[in-house]
């Protein structure tokens, strides 16, 4: 038995320990990286010192450093080992090619010279930037580290191969007729083992350093969220942890925040370097390949498998939750059941308990509503055209219903009022030299669009003005659209058509549609008021055709915005038109009872609960997809020990009052999370939460429930009524679709089931 270098045993043992941490660390970490504590027992803010809440203390976001290190081991080691390996393989391949061909050598030498001339960190950073985004992939870092570091191993191996090529044993082998490939594999490779081992360990160690340096420069693996002026990467890769831990405060006061990941990085680098050096020493005068007999290889492979296979076999944390998500998704795949009666029946069948004696919370309410499809028919000299209502791509117009507008049937001549601006409506405000100009000052030299046309009893067409250019680079935003609509009504217009080039863009946005926002903030009061519509520019073009420049031409000539001092605006674009329009907008006062359903998994509510809040019908797109998702998820709640409150929220009438009535029924129950669902159309789900600590949680849940979602990188609140306002002081997340084609009902159902299963399993982030 040959003597084995004791340092090799130590090195391999340390590397084995690292691999074990990478394989099992996630499973045995006390917490997941999504768990954070935002306030300590005495109300103090993170970072928390070691030995208190957490063994090794917390980071700036209040996350357990030990858990982060254990969770981050896999990502960190995978990136640096892969990068180190690619550097080595690329360097070896290039050296082998260069040693056999002078022309290749010239090219490779020149490339190596160019690559190594720029500092590694800078080059790696430029490569990472090429793939930079809100969620920079790990592969970008592997690529960056590999590109920036292949020249080192190339130089070392080329020198070594050149030395071996001139050795007498090589000449002998060649004289005996051995082929170059055989000489390389049989004779040179065993000699290269020490250099390869040393080089591999160096490359991995340098990759550790480079990864940390990239982190310090702000390039992190995966999604990064802002938190109190810091940027916190979601993947707890050690380099990123070290980087985010290096604040002035941490340097002076809370040093553990960066000492813990620095220690992990240093230990890992030492382990790898030690193993590589010892391996190089061990095989400096021995043939590695002759010692690598099949039986030994088999035993080694078996040992590695035995050590690593359990990692794949071990059930993941909260394994029941993905299962519940799958079941809910399967149920949601059945034909959708979204009416209130069916959901109530499902509550009963699932054995859910009514709260306050009955499932329903009823409120009598009246609301001015559009009760049917709106119809607009253009009568132009070119013929009669029926327009299509809606917000989708194929649609032409949408009613603008709010306090100042109504509906009815009308047949009206159309008149064009340009931008719909009368400078008298927007008196300039007093401003200082340093304050930006206001809209009134910007348009004060413009012609009055109402001066040359009589709008009384007519349908008025105006072009939506988004902003006015002031100076060389500034712009002043135009007032909201209601100012222009009401200006037209004040002058006696019987209807208003606002042509808006951004209409379709706004159609798919969530919470960014000024026309829908008007209806929600200031709902319609009187069906007899004159109607207003937002129409596509193509509709305005049809009305304006043959009478002068069309809307498209006007927008193109003033792109992107008209200038405050544009001499063309000293004359108005207004003109009477030969077109007429027939309007049919059914708007009525509707009186009915809003019926919100409310059920819980336990008869006695206990002291805390999660609330699942499905909004149906949606005030955003009138859909009942959230009810269908709730219906599908109800069955997965059977046998729940934790209290889960399910709400099918009716938005009819005063949404806020309806929501407060539900909250009253819950009677002071402590709510750990309100998961709202509304308007689930779109290719992905989007999460809106005012709580920064909930962003990684909901993203993690969605990923685990296999739900397509947009990363939640910012805090926010939905600005359309969902009723969640009643729970504003509780942790709440609104789940909504990103808009556009696609139905995410099944995904929402899976997410509900996943959240409930985690809550039942007492996942700590839900019991903060």
């Amino acid at each position: 038995m040959r003597r084995v270098d004791p340092w090799l045993i130590v090195g391999l043992a340390l590397v084995g320990a690292l691999v074990a941490v990478a394989a099992y660390g996630e499973r045995f970490a006390p917490y997941e990286p999504i768990y954070s504590v935002t306030r300590g027992p005495d109300g103090e803010r993170p970072p928390f010192p070691p030995g208190g809440l957490f063994l090794l203390g917390s980071d700036n976001a209040g996350r357990d450093l030990l858990s982060l290190v254990l969770h981050g081991a896999r990502a960190t080691l995978a990136i640096v080992c892969l990068a180190g390996l690619i550097r080595l393989v690329a360097g070896t391949a290039a050296a082998t090619l260069a040693i056999h061909s002078a022309s290749i050598r010239v090219v490779v030498d020149a490339s190596a010279e160019v690559v190594s001339a720029i500092p590694t960190t800078l080059l790696a950073l430029i490569v990472v930037l090429a793939f930079f985004g809100p969620d920079t992939p790990a592969v970008a870092f592997v690529g960056a580290l590999a590109v920036a570091g292949w020249a080192g191993p190339y130089r070392v191996l080329r020198a070594e191969l050149a030395r071996l090529r001139g050795a007498t044993f090589t000449e002998g082998a060649r004289a005996l007729g051995a082929r170059s490939r055989d000489i390389l594999l049989r004779h040179h490779l065993p000699h290269l083992v020490p250099v390869l081992a040393l080089s591999a360990s160096q490359q991995v160690a340098w990759s550790f350093v480079a990864l940390a340096e990239l982190g310090v420069l702000g390039a992190f693996v995966g999604a990064v969220r802002p938190l109190d002026g810091l940027r916190v990467p979601q993947i707890p890769e050690w380099g990123g942890m070290l980087a985010t831990g290096r604040t002035v405060q941490n340097l002076y006061l809370t040093r553990w925040v960066f000492l813990v990941p620095a220690a992990a990085l240093a230990l890992a680098a030492v382990a790898v370097a030690l193993a590589g050096t010892a391996l190089a020493r061990q095989y400096a005068r021995r043939n590695f390949f002759s010692e690598l007999r099949p039986r030994r290889g088999l035993v080694g492979a078996l040992a590695i498998s035995l050590a690593l296979v359990p990692a794949a076999m071990l059930p993941e944390r909260y394994a029941a939750a993905p299962q519940a998500a799958r079941e809910a998704r399967a149920l949601a795949a059945l034909p959708p059941v979204d009416d209130t009666a069916s959901v109530e029946r499902a509550f009963r069948e699932a054995g859910l308990h009514p709260i306050g004696g009955q499932y329903a919370v009823e409120r009598r309410a009246t609301q001015v509503l559009q009760t049917g499809r709106a119809r607009l028919t253009l009568q132009t000299p070119a013929g009669e055209v029926e327009l299509r209502e809606g917000w989708d791509r194929e649609s032409d117009f949408a009613p603008v219903l709010y306090r100042a507008t109504g509906g009815g049937r009308h047949e009206l001549p159309v008149v064009f009022a340009g931008w719909g601006i009368s400078p008298r409506d927007f008196p300039p405000k007093l401003s200082t030299t340093w304050a930006p100009p206001d809209f009134g000052s910007a348009v004060r030299s413009w012609a009055d669009d109402y001066a040359g046309v009589d709008v009384r009893g007519k349908a008025l067409l105006v072009l939506r003005l988004a902003a006015v250019k002031t100076g060389t680079s500034g712009a002043v935003i135009a007032p909201a659209v209601d100012a222009f609509i009401e200006g037209a009504f004040r002058r006696g217009a019987a209807a208003v058509l606002v042509a808006d080039p951004r209409r379709k863009q706004q159609a798919v946005s969530r919470g960014g549609n000024p026309y829908r926002d008007l209806a929600e903030v200031d709902p319609p009061q009187d069906p007899a008021r004159p109607p207003a519509f937002v129409v596509d520019v193509s509709v305005a073009d049809q009305l304006l055709a043959g009478s002068g420049p069309t809307a498209s031409e006007i927008y193109a000539s003033f792109s992107p915005f008209p200038g405050a001092r544009d001499p063309r605006l000293e004359a108005s674009l207004s003109r009477p038109l030969a077109a007429k329009i027939r309007i049919d907008l059914p708007v009525e006062i509707v009186e009915r009872t809003s019926r919100t359903l409310l059920a819980a998994t336990r008869a006695d509510l206990g002291d805390r609960a999660v609330v699942i809040w499905a909004v149906a019908p949606s005030r955003l797109d009138r859909s009942r997809a959230a009810a269908a998702a709730l219906h599908a998820a109800v069955r997965s709640l059977k046998g729940s020990e934790a209290t889960v409150v399910l709400v099918l929220f009716d938005t009819f009438g005063d949404v806020r009052e309806n929501a407060l009535a539900v909250r009253e029924r819950l009677n002071g129950l402590r709510v750990d999370l309100v998961l709202g669902m509304d308007a689930l159309a779109g290719p992905k789900l989007r999460f809106i939460t005012p709580r920064a600590d909930l962003q990684p949680v909901i993203d993690h849940y969605a990923a685990k429930a296999n739900v397509p979602f947009e990363l939640t990188l910012e805090s926010g609140e939905a600005n359309w009524p969902t009723g969640l306002v009643a729970f504003i002081e509780h942790p709440n997340v609104l789940v909504t679709g990103t808009g556009g084609p696609g139905d995410r009902t099944a995904d929402a159902a899976a997410l509900i089931a996943y959240v409930v299963a985690r809550y039942q399993a007492r996942s700590p982030e839900l019991y903060r």
């Binding site: 020149a110 010279e113 160019v114 190594s116 001339a117 720029i118 500092p119 590694t120 960190t121 800078l122 950073l125 430029i126 930037l129 090429a130 930079f132 985004g133 809100p134 340098w206 350093v209 940390a212 340096e213 310090v216 420069l217 702000g218 390039a219 990064v224 002026g229 810091l230 940027r231 980087a243 290096r246 340097l251 002076y252 040093r255 960066f258 620095a262 240093a266 370097a273």
Partner: protein
């Protein structure tokens, strides 16, 4: 002369190739990066269209050539310090190591220490120097040296140490080996037998033999320092050319990034050239002897 011309042409070709490569790659990368409303650490919180996206010319109110030129001078100040420390402290430590070569424990301790220090990346060293200075400052109750900022005074201490320690260790390591070899040579034994003092021997007879290798080691260490310039300057907010390169990235200023990267590459390549010429001259002299 032929070597100098060949070497200089190679440096020029490398820089031209690099210029072409960066000129082609950096602008589209910056444009793509600009599309995301995200900033790197050097400028966290910088939002699209805000002043922090201004070109460096506008930030410093000077032409780019002046900005990069001044930054290069600030970096050269650091590198000159590194060279000075490597050639003074490194050589002295190397001679001490060589003189202690027959005392296994002390020599071993020195060798292991130097090897360990040489292996510490400047980045880690910078981190821990900052930490140590803050910690010690807390203990003695006053600020020892500044941990951030530019200045040709006490501000130099930490960035210089971070950059110089690996170069000093590498120089000392190689000097110790070479001086040890020369001290064991027959002519030195003969000189000792004549009663010449050690200091005289080292100065007049040993160092001329060890000088070429010492110089090579120092130049090699300087190349490592140039490679570490960006991160060390960033950590100490030393607005040298490495810092300017990173600031150019944060400001999404492609021309400034290309210019500063080319300056760094030129420094690196010129040091490489110096290293190779020194080696060639040394081996030619050795062959002549």
């Amino acid at each position: 002369m032929k070597l100098v011309v060949l070497g200089a042409s190679r440096v020029v070709l490398t820089l031209v190739a690099l210029w072409a490569l960066l000129g082609a790659v950096v602008p589209p990368v910056m444009e793509r990066y600009r599309a995301f409303n995200i900033a790197l650490g050097a400028n966290a919180g910088c939002i699209r269209g805000s002043p922090c996206e201004r070109p460096l010319e506008s930030v410093y109110a000077h032409p780019l050539a002046v900005v990069v030129g001044e930054a290069t001078l600030r970096s050269l100040a650091l590198l000159a310090g590194v060279a000075l420390l490597a050639l003074s402290v490194g050589v002295l430590l190397g001679i001490a190591g060589a003189l202690l070569r027959h005392r296994p424990w002390r020599a071993g301790l020195l060798a292991v220490g130097l090897a360990l220090v040489a292996a510490i990346p400047s980045f880690f060293l910078a981190y821990f120097l900052q930490l140590a200075v803050v910690f010690l400052g807390g203990m003695v109750g006053r600020r020892l040296v500044p941990v951030f900022g530019f200045g040709l005074d006490a501000h130099l201490a930490l960035p210089l140490l971070s950059l110089a320690v690996p170069a000093v260790a590498a120089t000392a390591h190689l000097t110790a080996a070479r001086v040890g070899e020369v001290l064991d040579a027959d002519f030195v034994t003969a000189a000792r037998a004549k009663g010449l003092p050690t200091s005289w021997l080292v100065r007049r007879h040993v160092m001329p033999h060890a000088a070429p290798l010492t110089l090579e080691a120092a130049v090699s260490g300087l190349r490592v320092s140039v490679a570490s310039l960006p991160i060390v300057e960033y950590l100490f907010v030393w607005n040298g050319v490495g810092y300017i390169a990173l600031q150019a990235i944060a400001q999404k200023d492609a021309p400034a990034l290309v210019a500063s990267a080319l300056v760094l590459a030129a420094l690196f390549s010129l040091l490489g050239l110096a290293f190779e010429l020194r080696q060639a001259v040394f081996y030619r002299l050795a062959a002549a002897r």
